[in-house]
């Protein structure tokens, strides 16, 4: 069965494929013989962390996944929820961190392409893209290069396919200096009847490769180390994937047409581990056997081995199971879109996963054991003492800087912190208005998209404060969900369900696995309390560089439903004379705050408490007030605290600016910096022309709510009275700090001046 020229299976080759001795023994036992080189490649891909979730699966199983409206939970290409009227929303988030660290433009672009395919293979037309990005400090020219490359990559791909990029968040922190996070989320809309699952069915049905030809892109790094393979070693080196959004657009239209046509039974993206994982997973879901002939796969380069064809990660390719006898009809649809289709295999009754090269068998596994026999680990979990010490530190023990005597200085400094400042520099590069459904685009608390043919809209948002998770993973995990829920609620939407992208370090380190377990537990608690089940997601581990792991960053992608378009609510102040209300507690907690990080370069203290019962009540009362038509604007109070939230309400929208007069003097018991910049959770800044009725709703629900001031559309200051002092911040200064910071930093060096600094960073 081995092919001529295949390298011998040695301990060194096994190690290069990332298999432990125990895993190799497991493989040997499954086959009852020594695997071929091709089989070793297949297993190394399928049992990799990325495909198998071998360290994360047992923990992920603890998450809630059900609700009456969940049509598809975890385990498919994307999750799907019903939104009524026979319509459903498919959505998923996925990471492309390592490819983006190596080549930011193509890495981010192909990340967008992959997640788009995951959504349209469910039968959904993509209607929105979101991105959750983490970079190091923008003071580093290399970080500016990564930031600008990633933004261009996201924009060029999404813009070309014609899917609006409408929301997301971008955070800058030295913890991500050498390991940026690039998580892309796609949201699609479908008729419930068109929902299709990637499940191979029907003995004798043909398996068809569709779309781009297969090249040597992204093949597992193990291959080029083998001498026996290398006629030309350069040609065998793993290569970055290059995205082709034009082909993606054709693939999108053709796939949706194929699904509608009824000629096919299943369709799946050839994503990570390419043909191997797509075919093995579809077979496993359908509990059938498959046989694939690699010699029939259209290739871009000559002389590709079965190993390379199976493991190639060339982009813009799909695997389709068609109905037997419908091959011509499938081909016709693809030809209309200038795409090629090749029958490369068949669904078979025999419980076997078989790969041939012509008639010669090059790999064969029994039944679906390739997927089901994958190892599963529960590594040690132990909190790091250093983090426990950090958490115990008292934020108020950090002495104030002398400049802080002028609170406007602090406010400006925080508003111009790149994590808080306006990200328009990036959002202006994303087409956010194509498809004409975008009611609220980038920059709001969440994006809002109308659903044509109904009076409804959906709100979408990604969120995670990695610093909180770092300091206390349980609480940080809860907050990530709660804040995303609050964000969509601020636009008038009921939070429905989440997808998540769990970005962590090396799970075999006990302190990292502790973070993972605890953060997932916290997320699960919040999802249960807020009624937002998990419908799927992605785990990205080993986000480490020699300087350590990134902050544990479980990014939450939240989808909410707005029942009536008249409920859509904006974040910024709208009407002169409206009362400003603070829904939620004052609190004043400074642990893990942006204030400490930006003003004092300190990451310490316990993150703010997260009382899930209160969070639920805050969201419920907010929605009750919005639905009663009492709310002019609603803005979540998060990074930078109340003062930043108020400043954003005043100047974030350049076409709708307001001043305000705010009185916080009743909270004299809390230090001023806690009142202004504390990040106590469960708080929303509301403006309303009928404050008494909002106060009534809050009182009835048992949620603290206080009238704290008045909107002044014609004033050019944000005035805040404290117990012992008063500040009058000119809007011009706030506007400058908020809007001009990132453009001015990004104009410092032109793009591409830093290729020389790129070389030392390699994929893990």
């Amino acid at each position: 069965m081995p092919r001529p020229g295949d390298p011998a299976i040695t301990p060194a080759l096994i190690a290069e494929h990332g298999l432990t001795r125990q895993e190799y023994e497991r493989l040997f036992a499954m086959l009852g013989r020594t695997p071929t080189f091709t089989e070793l490649g297949i297993v190394s891909a399928l049992w990799s962390e990325h495909c198998s979730y071998k360290h994360s699966r047992p923990v992920l199983k603890t998450l809630p996944t059900e609700a009456p409206y969940v049509l598809q939970g975890p385990g498919e290409n994307a999750g799907v929820i019903s939104i009524g009227d026979g319509l459903a929303v498919a959505f998923k988030i996925e990471s492309h961190n390592h490819p983006s660290a190596v080549e930011p433009y193509q890495g981010a672009a192909t990340g967008v392409g992959g997640i788009l395919r995951d959504v349209f293979t469910m039968g959904a037309r993509p209607i929105a893209m979101l991105n959750s990005l983490r970079f190091g400090s923008l003071e580093s020219s290399r970080v500016r290069y990564l930031f600008s490359g990633v933004v261009r990559g996201i924009g060029d791909y999404g813009n070309c396919v014609g899917i609006p990029t409408v929301a997301g968040e971008i955070v800058f922190d030295p913890a991500y200096e050498y390991n940026p996070l690039v998580n892309a989320m796609c949201v699609g809309l479908l008729h419930e009847d068109d929902l299709i699952r990637a499940k191979a069915e029907g003995i004798g049905n043909p398996i068809i490769a569709v779309g781009a030809r297969t090249g040597r892109d992204g093949i597992h790094g193990a291959s080029f180390a083998s001498e026996d393979l290398s006629e030309a070693s350069d040609a065998k080196r793993p290569r970055i994937q290059v995205g082709d959004p034009f082909t993606e657009k054709l693939l999108l239209e053709a796939s949706l047409e194929l699904i509608k046509s009824g000629h096919i039974v299943a369709i799946q993206d050839m994503g990570a581990a390419g043909l191997t994982s797509s075919s093995a997973e579809m077979a496993e879901r359908g509990d059938v056997g498959v046989t694939i002939d690699v010699s029939k796969v259209p290739t871009r380069e000559s002389g590709m081995s079965p190993y390379e064809i199976l493991l190639s990660e060339s982009q813009e390719r799909m695997l389709v199971v068609a109905k037997r006898g419908h091959e011509e009809a499938v081909r016709e649809i693809l030809e209309k879109w200038d795409l090629t289709a090749a029958v490369i295999g068949e669904v078979i009754a025999e419980p076997v996963y078989r790969v041939t090269e012509g008639t010669k068998v090059v790999a064969e596994f029994p039944g679906s054991r390739l997927v089901t026999d994958c190892p599963s680990y529960s590594p040690d979990a132990r909190e790091s003492d250093a983090i426990r010490t950090l958490r115990a530190a008292d934020p108020l023990a950090v002495p104030e800087r002398s400049e802080e005597n002028d609170p406007i200085w602090t406010l400006e400094k925080l508003l111009s912190a790149p994590t808080i400042a306006s990200k328009s520099w990036a959002y202006r590069q994303y087409d956010s208005t194509v498809r004409t459904n975008t009611v609220i685009g980038p920059g709001g608390d969440a994006a809002v998209l109308r659903i044509r043919g109904t009076n409804k809209a959906i709100a979408v948002k990604t969120d995670c404060n990695g610093r909180y998770v770092y300091l206390d993973p349980r609480v940080g995990g809860r907050i990530a969900v709660a804040e995303a829920a609050r964000n969509v609620a601020c636009t008038g939407a009921r939070p429905m369900a989440i997808t998540n992208c769990l970005n962590f370090g090396n799970p075999t380190r006990p302190e990292v696995f502790f973070q993972f377990k605890e953060a997932v537990a916290g997320m699960g608690e919040a999802c249960r309390a807020l009624g937002t089940p998990v419908t799927g997601g992605n785990v990205s581990l080993y986000n480490e560089s020699p300087s350590g792991a990134v902050y544990p960053t479980p990014v939450i992608g939240m989808v909410g439903l707005i029942e009536d378009l008249s409920h859509v609510t904006r974040a910024t102040f709208q009407h002169d004379g409206d009362a400003v209300l603070l829904l939620g507690e004052m609190g004043g907690e400074l642990g893990g705050s942006e204030y400490l990080a930006t003003i004092h370069e300190a990451v310490l203290g316990a993150p703010p408490r997260c009382d899930l019962d209160l969070e639920k009540k805050v969201i419920d009362s907010l929605l009750e007030a919005i639905r009663a038509g009492l709310v002019s604007s609603a803005h979540d109070c998060s990074d930078g605290g109340l003062a930043i939230a108020l400043a954003e309400c005043c100047v974030a929208d350049l076409e709708c600016q307001s001043g305000a007069e705010i009185d916080l003097s009743t909270w004299g018991a809390i230090p001023n910096r806690g009142v202004l910049f504390g990040e106590t959770q469960g708080r929303i800044v509301i403006s309303s022309s009928t404050p008494e009725r909002v106060l009534e709703i809050a009182a009835k629900a048992g949620v603290p709510c206080a009238r704290i001031g008045t909107v002044q559309r014609t004033s050019d200051t944000l005035a805040i009275r404290l117990a012992d002092s008063e500040m009058k911040a000119p809007l011009g200064r706030l506007r400058h700090a908020y809007h001009d910071t990132i453009p001015s930093i990004m104009s410092r060096t032109p793009e591409h001046t830093t290729f020389d600094e790129l070389a030392p960073v390699a994929a893990h």
Binding site: R152, G155, D156, N159, C160, V161, G162, D244, P245, F246, T247, K249, L250, W337, D338, Y427, R428, Q429, Y430, D431, S432, T433, V434, R435, T436, N437, T438, V439, R450, R452, L565, E655
Partner: protein
């Protein structure tokens, strides 16, 4: 009135144009496939935005050779209305339906934003329901929208009142700050010598409902109906 909306491989605003015509105007619209030679009886043709053929060589350079473009050119030569938006404008320039060319934005970045344009000539079949000097709020979304032409061509366009839209600020002032892409003389839209082919970078079909930010684009489509009805 029947609108024919051309779908090239890579078009992505065809759907938005379709909805503007059918939902907002309440008129009939059909998609026209790039490989066909048939305008299916359309009275008005729309070349929509997108990235035809990926815009891989030059924006619009490959699309102009599509079979359907021969029919579109013939339709234009007969004096019938053709609206060329964004990528459609680029294709029209490549195909010689309109003078000049659209080059990479001066700041080298894609720009997606709500911009203001000033109506320069309200006497055309596309603008007769606007007032001259009226300021419209319409989104742009393009990487290659910087309008360039020789000075002779630019002068001729101005002299013949064929510059229809210019980028302006909210008060209608023409300034470099209001110019999102570095277009010469802030030009956002022009018409052909015959007055029946309109090319513009901003997207009127995306400005057809206050819900999505503006309804200033509606009257552009209504102008055509009004002129034909008159």
């Amino acid at each position: 009135m029947k609108f024919g909306i051309v779908t090239f491989p890579g078009s992505n605003c065809d759907y938005d144009a379709y909805h503007a015509v059918t939902e907002i105007l309440g008129e009939e619209a059909v998609y026209l496939w790039h490989k066909d030679h048939d305008l299916r009886g359309s009275d008005v043709i729309i070349l929509p935005g997108g990235f035809s053929y990926g815009d891989y060589l030059r924006a619009g350079a490959i699309a102009r050779f599509s079979p359907i473009m021969q029919e579109v050119v013939a339709h234009a030569s007969s004096g019938a209305p053709v609206i060329c938006i964004c990528n459609g404008f680029q294709i029209a320039c490549e195909a010689g339906l309109l003078p000049g060319a659209l080059m990479r934005n001066s700041h080298l970045q894609f720009v997606s934003a709500q911009v203001r344009v000033r109506v320069e000539n309200s006497g055309t079949i596309f603008t007769n329901l606007y007032e001259t000097n009226e300021v419209l709020r319409i989104p742009v979304a393009h990487g290659e929208g910087r309008y360039v032409a020789s000075d002779d061509v630019l002068d001729a366009l101005e002299n013949d009142a064929r510059v229809i839209f210019r980028y302006a600020d909210a008060k209608g002032n023409i300034s470099a700050d209001a110019n999102p892409n570095g277009s010469e003389r802030n030009i956002a839209g022009i018409i052909s010598e015959g007055g029946n082919v309109l090319g513009m970078m901003p997207h009127p079909e995306r400005a057809c409902s206050p819900l999505v930010g503006s309804s200033d684009g509606v009257r552009l489509f209504e102008s055509i109906l009004a002129r034909v009805a008159a």
